[in-house]
């Protein structure tokens, strides 16, 4: 037991060091991004370096929270949002826009702190205990999920199934006109259902079935023309591999840190800079930059008051007729710009002064995910939420909950047998024999 405690102390300080290293790599990455993507409002100025470094170090003051709390869904979401917030604090010193940057930085750091408190600390199980499903029933649920994925894919394919290059996806996506229900279903399959099935099979070491789930996700690319869908299976495999070698918390940090380092190396090695563009620009820098754009836009435009949520818009009306992403595209011409809950539920909905309160409530909602997944293997939570977290850092929480099926994933976590890893004995055996 004492040895375990010692190891835990070492782990905590190791984790802190890893977070600090990631923040350093992230800031360096943003300097390189500014060198290449000035047309996307990324800038860097040597004269402001000192202030930016002080800002980033100040943001690091929150990081011990990560090292002293155990892994949960909220932890993973919190770390990704924290990375975005630190990125914003860095970028804000070089921002070309005119708004109160000091207040904006205080608002973002307070918001992420307010989010982390419930998201990291509320991890106890729900009042209603998980229904103790048998492994065979759970296996049937997994099969139903796979069938749902296949049927949804088939339904989407009736509207067209074309493998196109990355350069053509935007034009093709504009042509898509699925019925609303099918649109929702395909998003839920991609972000929640199939990653859940993949994670279950991975943890149970049924790799062929996990591969099958990943293949179904990949097959959604020719019907959705989404980069996220194309990357999702490889992302899941990468995280599965990471989580085999490291604990969940370390894996969650490395999941951002390693790609950032790869992107930085690719900046010099890859002349086309495509790898750098996909990882360091699109995946890491854009969510931070979106906060800067949202701050600038809503510093001189009316707030949404949550009217970006369709049913609220129908009841209470809205200053904006278009979706928020389209409004931002019209304002800045950088494409349909969605942003994380800090920007959407926070800045856009209630303004920078009240953003921490709104983001705190988002933290409470994410904590429901912690409660539903309480008792499940950390590795399983990490893998099954991987695609959903990518949605969370790029779109609003309400969209992730409803359109991307976070609510369904919470429900699935709640009913998942807590001894999931012990089901590995099923390997190569027919389901009927287990009972």
């Amino acid at each position: 037991m004492p040895a375990l405690k010692n190891a835990e102390n070492r782990k905590s300080s190791g984790l802190l060091a890893l977070i600090a290293l990631y923040v350093f790599a992230g800031c360096v990455s943003l300097i390189f991004v500014a060198e290449r993507y000035q047309n996307f409002h990324f800038f860097y100025d040597d004269r402001l370096l000192q202030s930016a470094v002080i800002g980033a170090i100040f943001s690091l003051a929150i990081s011990p929270l990560f090292s002293f709390t155990r892994f949960s869904f909220g932890w993973a979401v919190g770390f990704n949002l924290y990375a975005i917030a630190v990125g914003y604090v860095w970028l804000s010193f070089f921002s070309p826009f005119r708004y109160d940057h000091d207040l904006a930085r205080i608002s973002v750091v307070t918001s992420i702190g307010a989010f982390l408190l419930p998201a990291l600390l509320i991890t106890s199980p729900t009042k209603y205990p998980s229904p103790s499903l048998s492994h065979s029933t759970h296996a049937h649920i997994l099969l139903i999920i796979l069938m749902t994925g296949i049927l949804t894919l088939g339904a989407c394919a009736t509207y067209g199934f074309r493998v196109v290059g990355l350069g053509e996806i935007y034009a093709k996506r504009a042509e898509l006109s699925y019925p609303t229900a099918l649109n929702y279903l395909s998003n839920i399959c991609i972000s929640s259902l199939l990653p859940y099935a993949f994670a279950c099979y991975s943890v149970k070491r049924r790799y062929w079935m996990a591969g099958f789930a990943a293949t179904i996700i990949l097959l959604f690319y020719p019907v959705t023309f989404s980069k996220l869908v194309l990357a999702a299976p490889f992302w899941l495999i990468f995280l599965t591999a990471l989580s085999r070698w490291f604990r969940a918390r370390t894996s969650a940090i490395l999941a951002l840190f390693l790609p950032t380092l790869i992107g930085l190396a690719a900046f010099y090695l890859d002349a086309s800079r495509q790898i750098f563009g996909v990882i360091n620009f699109r995946m890491i820098a854009i969510p931070s930059s979106a906060i800067d754009l949202y701050f600038n836009f809503f510093s001189n435009h009316p707030l949404t008051g949550f009217c970006q949520i369709s049913f609220l818009k129908a009841y209470f009306g809205c200053s904006y007729l278009d979706q928020l992403s389209v409004v931002m595209q019209n304002a800045y011409g950088l494409g349909n710009l969605n942003a994380s809950l800090i920007a959407t539920e926070g800045i856009a909905s209630v303004g920078l002064e009240f953003a921490p309160i709104s983001v705190f409530i988002c933290g409470l909602i994410v904590a429901i995910g912690n409660k539903c997944s309480s008792g499940l293997p950390e590795r399983f939570i990490f893998i099954s939420s991987a695609v959903l977290i990518q949605s969370l850092v790029n779109v609003a929480l309400a969209t992730t909950l409803l359109t991307h099926g976070a609510v369904i994933l919470f429900l699935l976590w709640w009913i998942t047998p807590r001894d999931l890893e012990s089901d590995t004995r099923q390997l190569g055996q027919p389901e009927g024999r287990i009972a």
């Binding site: 004492p2 835990e8 102390n9 011990p64 709390t69 005119r98 750091v109 982390l116 009240f354 921490p356």
Partner: protein, 308 residues
Amino acid sequence: MPQVFSIAWTYRWVFLAALLVPFCISSIVILRLPERYTVISSIELATTLVQGRTQLVEPADQVAKLAIDQYLPIVLAGLETTQSSNLRAHAAGSTVILTESGPLASENRLKDLQEKILGFILRQQKQQANVIRENLTINLNSAKRRIESYDQQIKTIDNRKSEFEARIATQRRSVDTIQKNLAETLRSASPDARIQDAFTNEAKVREFRERLHTEETFSHQIELARTSLDSEAAKIISQRDEQYLTASQNEFLLNSIRDAHVLLQPTKMSGANGPRLLLLILAALVGSLIFATIIVLALGQFRSSPAR
């Protein structure tokens, strides 16, 4: 890892102290911050038309920079104050916006400062607009003078043309007379006329023909001269039209120059203090909560380690 809340409960007094002490201190600091507000003013810069597009006589960014780098030190020196200024100037389209936050007591000073800077900008903009106006006026007057000169030239050409036309008419009459005399001489010359008369008639005919040739050559030359005058007149008319166009363009540009004008006189912005204070208090609360949580978690971890 033990539950966070149970650790917090175990070290509840430490938690409370770690929460309340920084929160109270920071709250006191925040509440004792002097009440600040912002004075804002804006000015629309002078514009002119360049190639059909409205253009500022000087880029707004440059004017904003001038306001801070040049005018502000002059105004501060003129106010004979030792206080510094955190005035900000930024460009938004054709407008320069001046903002400055300060404590309640300095409202008049901030307004006065912005008024003076606006005055500097207005004067500098007027000077620049006047330089453009003068250039355009010079061009306009020059074009008008050229038009007058061309008109004079055209008038002279017209006079010469009418002279030529009169001479051509005289020449034609003269040619007609010669031709008539020649025909009469030819008719009067009979085959049975005396040899002496025949010689005389032949000499007359030759003389008429020579005179006719001379007159026709002269008429031809006059025609040529008139044609040359026509082309010269056309050229001058085209040049005059060009000058008309230049003059009208300059006149239009002259009329299209818009002087700089103050859009918003220095005004105190109200109501920004409340929510700002709330955000700072919220930040203090969240920061203190995180600090307290980290303290008790660290304490929990280190207390239970065997090294302690």
